[in-house]
Amino acid sequence: MENLVQIALQNVNMAAILPSLILTCFGMGLLLINVFLPRGTTRHAVWISLIGIVVTGFFIVTAWGQPQYGFNDAVAMDNFAAFFSIIFLFAAGLSILMSDEYLTREGYPVSEYYPMVLFATAGAMWMASGTDMMTIFLGLEVMSVALYVLAGFFRGQIRSNEAGLKYFLLGAFSTGFLLYGMALIYGVTGSTKLTEIGIYLNAHGALLENPMTLAGLILLSIGFLFKIAAAPFHMWTPDVYEGAPTPITAFMSAGPKAAAFAAFLRIMEYCFFSLKPEWTAILWVLAVLTMIVGNVIAISQTNIKRMLAYSSIAHAGYALIGMVAANEIGYSGILFYMLAYTFMNVGAFAVLVLAGKKGEDNLTLEGFSGFGYKRPFLGVALAIFLFSLMGLPPTAGFAGKFYIFAGAIKAGYIWLAVIGVLNSAVSLYYYLRVMVYMYFRDPAEDYAWVSMPATVVISIVIAIIGVFYLGIIPGDVMEYAKLAIF
């Protein structure tokens, strides 16, 4: 019996899961505390969960550069995971900052909301740090289940229900494919540990011709492509983003997307590096398809939240270019891009949170007429985020795009890069159109000065700082992104 314990303990390395551990602890603690917290407000929960996030962040930062492995290669808290974890934390933190205001406005001041976000974040971290298919899979599920709940969080709102339900059904469906893929890979290699799989595949060249490997690879990818929202697995995105509570949309568009990229990258690089030609060929097509679908459909959107959803599809496409490039620059480009995207997109959604009225019927282009004059600060902020999404210097978006395209061009995918830039040219149109309404139209109704809750403003300001910091002096962060590549 005791030898069993020894066997168990010798693999245990708490440092490898410390961040997610802290986060989950805070989550569970919060669940308990909620019982005693006054109903009808969630302020305290906000601060507690923020503290949790900050603490976690602190531990991640301090652990930078000392990769931790443990649990018998089930998890590896290396720079790669750390970098992504930081992204998740930013996404979570910023969306939590804007949540309180939002929940109160929409009439659902339910504190369970925050633990859910924290759990989702933890799940994302496990995805990023998992080196065993089981860890990744379970992390994915923790994240997804939490997100199903959060997407459908406003029980009384039909759109929220619908978002939750669609997300759930499709998510579960894609899980089926993911699992089947994992099963086949397991069958081919006899292991679920990424490294072992990789070594095994590399050692037995014959396997590369084995159709089962390829089938596994594809079915596996689908699970992640679904979460990334790459065409043709993107169709849930607009509906869910539109229906879900805005802060959750913000979080979903940044955190889970990044998590999926993290897991996808890790699996592709650890397991299938010997199959690179095959999967880059596929991803090339998908990247192009995704960019085109996202950008083109976004043009005819009138609801800004939905438009941003399509734009996030497009951005997934840009990021995929980095994977197609499949060289160091491309990969670290993805890391950097995800961070940049977190700032600009979450920031944009934060503005929407303040711009929206109850039920968010006014988040249409028309509703934004003269917005820049009604709410000068928000107007400028949104403009900045949109320019960053366009990829105009000196903003994070530009630095990110540059990084990724540089990777693609270095790898010789000139035409992919050209298609990419042409797509961002198309995207200019719909971003600009928002600004047309914000500044080139006069306000529809007369407006009074509206006081802005500090928390949301803070998140916006942080996002702005992030956008410009990553845009003007991206050197350091790019360096980190470089170090984060395995």
């Binding site: 089938a215 169709m235 607009p238 596929i282 083109v296």
Partner: protein, 663 residues
């Protein structure tokens, strides 16, 4: 020393600036303004005299003085430099002399005009530009003057800004000049480039060009000799500036300007720039017989063509305008047959008598205008049909006008005779001469005599057709107006005696004076009177013939307009069609409008509405529309139905697998 040459153009410029900037606000007083304007020109006249006589006494006949460098880009070095040689010396004398007289005249003529200061400013500016043109030591400085005079004529033709016709005329003048300038530039480029690239001589300096010209003899461009191409281009410039076929139509319209302007710019000086330019580049022209022939023919045709139109004009100034065109034709004939001196000689004499004629007409118009104005009539004060019998009212004007008429008609003893006769002689006798040119010239001379006297008679003789109410108000003009008339009439009389041909026992001083400019080219390229013609009695025959022709012209005129004034009406009735054509100037303007103006406008409209808007923007917006269409089409694939999404996913999977199998 000649380093103060820049003073000559400087004074008028100064005057122009002073009047232009201070005239309206500060000086105001007409007397002062007039004094400044006239004084400036007179000063430069004095300086010109100094240099002229200095040059006469000087053994070296070519002097350059460089003031400053203008552009220096690699091998292109352009200076602000002046060149004084007999040719330019003569020209500055004419320009400043006639110029100052006309300024004086304008003081009276423009009296009371609210644009008084503007007028003198422009006029000075013109004199400045003209002097730059004449004195420039390289083609570019000349071009500055060349365009400058164009600008001033634009400003002065459009001086009465209120008049629509004035504006049109001004624009027409400038644009047509531009067409000429286009030619000038091309010629300049050709010369500069061939010199430079073929012979390493990067220059546009006149002296160097004339010295190095022989290098070009071998070179060709587009299969033609470089000199031919270049000189043809230059000649195009000349036709624009000097109102030759086909670019002459602006000059008659230019009469919209005040009369002194017509006198100075459109008779005496500017329009002769073309002639001067050919003289300046005589070596190049001499090298290309083809061009010379073209020049001569164009000159001849212009001479007779314009004269023919002069027959049927009733506006006194227009008659003079066409006669100017015709006389310029004579000058070009001279240039074309290599009689450069003769051309310049005629240029000078023409400046005298034509200026006198214009000022005379101006005096008439001035008088008529006052009279009509006084009687509150709005008849056209320029229409000769309202005049007649003015000789008693305007004695001085009448005399001077008559003298000038005799001069231009080529009556022996007056300046016109000598110059015109020399031209005709050369067209006949020069090695480059052509009989046809001589014939045309002779006929044109006769016609000149006719229409000039027609003009004279209609204006000053017969009974006064002026509206009785206005009759008694017609008075002779003040001295500032009559004095220049007298002086010019005097010059028109005696001006010819500097060029009395040897045949008549003269010494033809002007010929010797111009020797250093033209002699070189003439001897190198064998341009001279044919051997056979030396001391040939035929010269006297021709002289007599031309006199006879002139007398015939005068005679016909007096028959038609003095003896029995109803004859013209009969004629017009008899040759109605012909008359209509002549009266409407052979419909040349209309033709030009239809050919060039309208087509250009149509083209412009097409480019704009047709191409810019429809094609280019059409493509651009079309692209946008296509993308939009795709967007709204794709958008509807997003049905919102769970199962469509799931289906898409599955199909996507299948497709990916398929791709894999294919790989």
């Amino acid at each position: 020393m000649y380093d103060k040459l820049w003073l000559i153009p400087f004074f008028p410029l100064l005057g122009s600036i002073i009047n232009g900037l201070l005239g309206k606000r500060f000086i105001k007083n007409e007397k002062v303004i007039g004094a400044i304007g006239t004084g400036a020109v007179f000063l430069s006249f004095l300086v010109s005299c100094k240099y002229f006589f200095q040059l006469l006494g000087d053994s070296v006949k070519t002097h350059e003085s460089v003031v400053a460098s203008w552009m220096s880009v690699g091998n292109l070095q352009v200076d602000w430099g002046f060149l004084l040689d007999p040719l330019s010396a003569l020209m500055i004398m004419v320009v400043c002399g006639v110029g100052s007289l006309i300024h004086l005249y304008s003081i009276g003529y423009m009296h009371g005009d609210e644009g008084y200061y503007r007028f003198f400013s422009y006029l000075n500016l013109f004199v400045f530009s003209m002097l730059m043109l004449v004195l420039g030591n390289n083609a570019l400085v000349m071009f500055v003057g060349w365009e400058g005079v164009g600008l001033c004529s634009y400003l002065l033709i459009g001086f009465y800004i209120e008049k629509q016709s004035a504006g049109d005329a001004a624009k027409k003048a400038f644009v047509m000049n531009r067409v000429g300038d286009f030619g000038f530039l091309l010629g300049l480029f050709t010369i500069f480039w061939t010199f430079g690239s073929k012979h390493g001589v990067w220059t546009i300096n006149f002296v160097e060009i004339s010295e190095q010209a022989h290098l070009l003899s071998g070179d060709t461009v587009l299969g033609l000799g470089v000199t031919t191409v270049a000189t043809l281009c230059f000649f195009l410039g000349a036709t624009g500036k000097s109102a030759q076929l086909p670019l002459y139509t602006w000059l008659p319209d230019a009469m919209e300007g005040p009369t002194p302007v017509s006198a100075l710019i459109h008779a005496a000086t500017m329009v002769t720039a073309g002639v001067y330019m050919i003289g300046r580049m005589n070596v190049l022209f001499a090298m290309s017989p083809t061009t010379m022939a073209v020049v001569a023919m164009v000159g001849a045709l212009t001479a007779i063509f314009a004269a023919s139109i002069g027959f049927a004009q009733n506006d006194i100034k227009r008659v003079l305008a066409y006669s100017t065109v015709s006389q310029l034709g004579f000058m070009f004939m001279a240039m074309g047959v290599g009689a450069f001196t003769a051309g310049v000689f005629h240029l000078m004499t023409h400046a005298f008598f034509k200026a006198c004629l214009f000022l005379g007409s101006g005096s008439v118009i001035h008088a008529m205008h006052h009279a009509l104005h006084h009687a509150h009539l709005d008849d056209d004060p320029q229409d000769m049909r309202n005049m007649g019998g003015l000789r008693k009212k305007l004695p001085v004007t009448h005399i001077t006008f008559a003298v000038s008429c005799l001069a231009i008609a080529g009556i022996p003893g007056l300046s016109g005779f000598f110059s015109k006769d020399e031209i005709l002689w050369y067209t006949f006798a020069s090695t480059r001469g052509m009989l046809i040119v001589w014939i045309i010239g002779a006929i044109a001379a006769a016609m000149t005599a006719f229409y000039m006297f027609r003009c004279l008679y209609m204006t000053f003789y017969g009974q006064q057709k002026t509206d009785p109410k206005a009759k008694d108000h017609v008075h002779e003009s003040p001295w500032v107006i009559t004095l220049p008339l007298v002086v010019l009439a005097f010059l028109a009389t005696v001006g010819g005696y500097v060029g009395v041909p040897e045949a008549l026992g003269g010494h033809n001083q002007i010929h010797h004076f111009m020797e250093p400019v033209f002699g070189h080219a003439q001897e190198v390229y064998h341009i001279a009177v044919k051997e056979a013609m030396h001391h040939n009695p035929i010269e006297y025959v021709l002289m007599a013939l031309s006199v006879v022709l002139a007398l015939i012209g005068i005679g016909v005129a007096s028959v038609m307009y003095m003896k029995n004034p109803d004859l013209p009406a009969k004629f017009t009735a008899k040759f109605a069609k012909l008359h209509r054509w002549v009266f409407n100037k052979w419909y040349v303007d209309e033709a030009y409008d239809a050919l060039f103006v309208e087509t250009t406008k149509k083209l412009g409209i097409f480019c704009w509405r047709g191409f810019d808007v429809k094609v280019i923007d059409g493509i651009v917006n079309g692209l946008a529309r296509v993308v939009g269409a795709c967007s709204s089409a794709l958008r509807h694939t997003q049905t919102g139905l769970f199962q469509n999404y799931a289906l898409t996913m599955v199909l996507g999977t299948v497709v990916m697998v398929a791709i894999f199998i294919l790989n």
